[in-house]
């Protein structure tokens, strides 16, 4: 029998500092690592712990893969301290990923906040790989401050891609930081946007409060609940629907998600309460 808890050993080949609290780790898996954009992996350090993270690279990138991690607790602080050449354990991929076949022929609106940009970067890069399959891609990203916005250099390149529109916002601009764009929570970017709601799918990922208000804002604009894709966060130990920690309503986030459509939940507002 396959042991669902077994990990593979990878080697850290590069660390990219994205913001004061966020780093991207480039991992050599020793061979092709197959995953679907939106799926997650359990990443950890031997004897320390592990946590669920979504690769932030395109799913066409099979090795090395990139994983963006925010420093939020014991394990992530330890992982932020490791150096190139260190061993990182990895298991997965788990979950469902984005159903890209349902995105075909549609306009894709991607809305992210904070470290929620990581799975959306994977989605974006995967979509861009076959951009002719989609009507266009609009990206709205937000961060707390200019210094907290990640993937800054790459975002500049994204904006140049034909068929892509990029909108950025920060909640506030502290003294000493430069910013010439929009200031306000990410939903302020959505208000002026005009799109064909019948033919638009939206993918949202970010802190719970951002997910909640972004969803409400998009529904108000007329996006169908079945076209509103949420990448959910929950406590996930096992990754395969055994430990029960990640249940939201009767779903296992790890197995039935982490990508859900808004209409799957009976009481979606309560899940972010």
């Amino acid at each position: 029998m396959v042991n669902a808890f077994e990990s593979i050993r990878t080697k850290l080949v590069k660390v990219i500092t994205e913001s004061p609290t966020i780093k991207t780790f480039v991992l050599d898996c020793g061979g092709d690592f197959e995953f679907k954009t939106g799926q997650f992996v359990e990443v950890g350090l031997p004897g320390v712990g592990e946590g669920p993270f979504t690769p932030s690279c395109s799913h066409y990138t099979k090795n090395p893969i990139e994983i963006t991690i925010m420093k939020t607790g014991y394990m992530t602080e330890k992982i932020h301290r490791i150096t190139e050449g260190s061993e990182v354990i990895l298991r997965g991929p788990y979950g469902n990923g984005y159903p890209l076949e349902k995105f075909e022929g549609k306009h894709v609106l991607i809305v992210g906040g904070g470290v929620g940009l990581a799975p959306l970067r994977s989605l974006f890069l995967t979509l861009v790989h076959d951009i002719e399959r989609y009507k266009g891609i609009t990206v709205c990203f937000g961060a707390r401050s200019p210094e907290d916005l990640i993937y800054k250099e790459q975002l500049k390149e994204w904006a140049k891609i034909r068929g892509v529109k990029l909108h950025l916002s920060v909640d506030k601009v502290p003294k000493g930081q430069k910013w010439s764009g929009n200031v306000g929570v990410v939903t302020t970017l959505l208000k002026p946007l005009e799109f064909d709601v019948e033919n638009t799918v939206a993918a949202v990922c970010g802190p719970p409060i951002m997910m909640k208000f972004t969803s409400l804002s998009l529904l108000e604009k007329g996006i169908k609940p079945s076209n509103l894709y949420l990448s959910m966060e929950s406590k996930m130990y096992c990754g395969v629907g055994l430990c029960r920690h990640c249940t939201i309503e009767h779903y296992f986030v790890c197995k039935d998600g982490p990508v859900f459509t808004y209409d799957q939940f009976e009481n979606p507002e309560a899940i972010w309460a």
Binding site: N3, E6, K235, G241, C243, T247
Partner: protein, 326 residues
């Protein structure tokens, strides 16, 4: 098939497998290892033991990476509430991604169920749609009639055991009307249970329930998690990486959804920070989520949660509040 109880017990001991059976201490039953020395003290057919059967099949703490080859075990004298709990655990833990450790223990386990001759004040299997005698999941079942054991196999494993046992032991053909006697004995226990639970409404275990924050019921809860730990179907676990010198291990240990940190995510966010939310979640999980996930409710009516609760919270009262009146 009829046999003499002492012959079956001697035979089970002779198989070389570890046999667990119920023994009574201070008014409660506990599964202990049966030996030649203590076999006179074993009591079969009492009410369900104080500890849930998951203690034997789903240990509270195990190292996961190397699944050891475990010895074969026999659990003798399992009440139906615990048999059905094993049925539930099988559905939950042997599905699409089987838990390798549980699978290993389960494959090596032979379950011998028994009709309940006694009931306890907290017993309420009938409210959950179950009977006080083995209905399914058992490999072998025992009904006691006139000091003899009536044996029935429920699986290939049980059939094999009966076949081996019948070689060299005194086996009697069923006497006329034996089924009627068994039925009568079962009816008596069932009536006792019905009387005991007459204050509670009887509902099917798959009946739809409404769920709402149970703010009143939660007032007295002290968040000890005892109800989770003694429940034979609660199987939530944590996975921790541990290290001792150069030895790293992944450890699986029980967790309890009533504890505050249970659902807390990185950064401190907690979708069920309030006690009533966790309390509500427990009932939603038992009566709604698991029915949708595995087609089966996660309460078998063993009543252990009622007895362990220092705040005297009775699942029957709470479940009644949730039941939709039709």
């Amino acid at each position: 098939m009829l046999c003499y109880p002492e012959e079956l017990i001697s035979y089970l001991l002779s198989t070389g497998k570890t046999v667990y059976a119920p023994f009574k201490h201070s008014g409660e039953y506990y599964f202990e290892i049966l030996t030649e020395d203590n076999k006179q003290e074993l009591f079969l057919g009492g009410f369900r033991p104080a500890d849930p059967i998951k203690l034997l099949l789903f240990p509270a703490r195990v190292e996961l990476l190397d699944i050891p080859k475990l010895p074969e075990i026999i659990i003798l004298g399992v009440n139906n509430c615990d048999l059905q709990a094993v049925g539930f655990l099988d559905k939950a833990l042997l599905g699409e991604f089987p838990d390798p450790y549980y699978a290993e223990i389960r494959n090596k386990t032979l379950l011998i169920g028994i009709d309940c001759k006694e009931v306890k004040g907290s017993c309420h299997c009938i409210l959950q749609g179950y009977e006080p005698y083995p209905e399914s999941i058992y490999d072998l079942s025992i009904s006691e009639v006139g000091g003899m054991f009536v044996l029935k196999s429920g699986s290939e494993k049980g059939e094999k055991l009966l076949e081996d046992f019948s070689k060299g032991h005194r086996i009697l053909e069923d006497i006329p009307d034996i089924d009627r006697v068994i039925e009568k004995n079962r009816e008596l226990v069932k009536r006792e249970l019905e009387q005991l639970n007459s204050g509670w409404s009887i509902s099917s275990h798959t009946e739809e329930r409404k769920l709402e924050p149970l703010k009143e019921a939660v007032d007295s809860c002290i968040e000890c998690g005892g109800c989770n730990f003694v429940c034979p179907t609660c199987y939530c676990f944590m996975l921790n990486d541990e290290s001792r010198k150069s030895h790293f291990s992944k450890v699986r240990s029980w967790d309890a959804c009533q504890l505050k940190g249970y659902a807390r995510v990185a950064g401190g966010g907690n979708p069920r920070a309030e006690l009533y939310e966790r309390f509500n979640h427990r009932y939603a999980c038992k009566f709604t989520y698991t029915v949708r996930q595995f087609g089966i409710s996660a309460c078998t009516g063993c009543g252990r949660c009622i007895e362990v609760c220092p705040a005297s919270i009775d699942i029957r009262a709470t479940a009644r509040k949730l039941t939709i009146k039709k």
